[in-house]
């Protein structure tokens, strides 16, 4: 009998260059572990995240997508994360409206000092996605191996 392999979700984390990417680095500096399922993509600001990228990630096989940016009020570009917040709120609401699991996408504000929070957030997010299981509602069957 074949033993089914444990489900290892693919998680894409978009991190703003100034706060969250630095926060992720700090988590590394302090050797705080979080699952290898998380792969980080660096973007200049959370407002650079086009909803298209999130959909693209799901299409290509991501099981969860998380956006990390500076805390509201701390944006390097002053207002970027405020725009990102509105955009993501509406996008997530729409995805939920379409019946997509709402926990699959998340936004977290992580500052450059919050290495521990970054790791904790990722641990929690990966756990959530693992519990949700494979992304089947927004997958593109062609991209499955």
């Amino acid at each position: 009998m074949q033993v089914e392999k444990n489900f290892e979700p693919t998680v894409v984390a978009f991190c703003c260059n100034w706060c969250s990417y630095a926060g992720a680095d700090l988590s590394g500096n302090n050797r705080i572990q979080y699952p290898a399922n998380v792969k980080i993509i660096r973007i200049p600001c959370s407002c650079r995240l086009n909803p298209m990228f999130i959909l693209r990630a799901f299409q290509r096989g991501a099981d969860g997508v998380i956006l990390c940016g500076c805390h509201p009020g701390d944006c390097h570009y002053t207002s970027g994360n405020y725009f990102a917040r509105r955009r993501m709120t509406l996008l997530f609401s729409m995805l939920s409206f379409l019946g997509i699991e709402k926990e699959r996408c998340r936004v977290e504000w992580v500052s450059a000092a919050e290495g521990a929070k970054f790791a904790a957030t990722m641990n929690d997010f990966v756990a959530t996605i693992t519990r949700l299981g494979e992304n089947k509602k927004l997958e593109d069957l062609r991209c499955k191996k």
């Binding site: 909803p51 693209r56 709120t89 729409m94 409206f97």
Partner: protein, 323 residues
């Protein structure tokens, strides 16, 4: 009303106030009316109509028409004026090239709804007050007009003309509509039910682009879906993902700019209730960021190009219960 508007069209053309008139032209039957640019008084006299089947929203035509030489007169129903103003706000229409005449509307009829009442072979429709008398190959039928109103007219949001050069008839008011009822109903479904609902709806999409091409908010010089460089260009969906992708992205692109004119659902050959996606955004925007009606004025910042420091967090979605 048709006569008044027709006379106005003739007057505008013959007085030189307008070089062209955008209006409705009669078809083979009572209901298959085509938008047309009239340049000739005789043609207006013969072909111009305005009845309960004059659904098309003219504002999008003005993007191209206002860039032609001369001035174009256009007849706008209350809801059309919102789209018109939104396009003005986005600098897509040159205002001084358009002479806008606001006209009253008491709801447009959806021929599909008449057909759904198993009325076949419709050859003529006469409006008699609240009742529509329908001639068919198989005899005469009657339906109440309110039963066959287009969805957007059933839930009419406003009888007010927000912009015009001239108004025919009385000015109406913004109405209390029940347009969000169905959105609420879907929101109240379970996640699986919602998924099944949309899967069923969106899987019918044949990607004819009618929704996009008719949408007054979709006036991009080059649509991302037609642009190979965008990375998301597609034609007919090759996977159920692409069906969703198209409609999510489209709804997102018009979020905060959609006036809820309902043209997308009117034109969908597969009767997909596309307006629900747009309305969901409108409802969310109203709830999260305060009431906003696209096209209602020229000044207010669109919700997605604006923010408040104390806006709700995206996690608000998590706490919005399924039931």
């Amino acid at each position: 009303m048709q006569e008044v508007i027709k006379q106005k069209a003739i007057e505008l053309l013959s007085s030189g106030k307008a070089d062209r008139v955008l209006g409705w032209k009669e078809g083979e039957f009572f209901y298959d009316i085509t938008p047309a640019v009239f340049t000739d008084v005789k043609e207006i006299e013969e072909k111009f109509v305005y009845n309960a089947f004059c659904g098309p929203n003219f504002s999008k035509y003005l993007v191209a028409e206002s860039r032609k030489d001369g001035k174009i007169a256009v007849f706008l129903k209350p809801c059309d004026t919102y789209s018109f103003q939104q396009l003005l706000k986005e600098h897509r229409i040159l205002r001084d090239k358009v002479y806008a005449v606001g006209i009253p509307c008491d709801g447009m009829v959806d021929i599909e709804k008449i057909r759904q009442k198993k009325i076949k072979g419709i050859t003529g429709v006469t409006e008699a007050g609240e009742v529509l008398q329908i001639d068919t190959i198989y005899g005469k039928k009657e339906v109440a007009k309110k039963d066959v109103l287009a969805e957007r007219c059933e839930n009419c949001k406003s009888k007010k003309h927000v912009v015009y050069d001239e108004l025919i008839g009385e000015e109406g008011d913004v109405l209390d509509s029940h347009r969000f009822d169905l959105v609420e109903k879907i929101e109240a479904m379970s996640e699986e039910e919602r998924f099944a609902f949309w899967q069923n709806e969106l899987s019918r999409c044949i990607r004819c682009n009618a929704c996009r091409n008719v949408c007054p908010a979709c006036t991009c010089e080059k649509c991302v879906f037609d642009n190979p460089a965008s990375g998301i260009d597609q034609k007919a969906a090759a996977d159920s993902f692409e069906e969703k992708m198209f409609h999510i992205i489209r709804a997102f692109h018009v979020a905060g700019r959609c006036t809820d004119c309902g043209e997308c659902s009117r034109v969908c050959p597969q009767n997909i209730p596309l307006h629900l996606l747009n309305r969901k955004f409108i409802k969310d925007i109203n709830e999260f960021y305060g009431e906003y009606q696209a096209g209602a004025d020229m000044e207010t910042r669109a919700p997605l190009t604006d923010y408040q420091t104390d806006d709700c967090e995206p996690s608000v979605i998590l706490t919005k219960g399924d039931q």
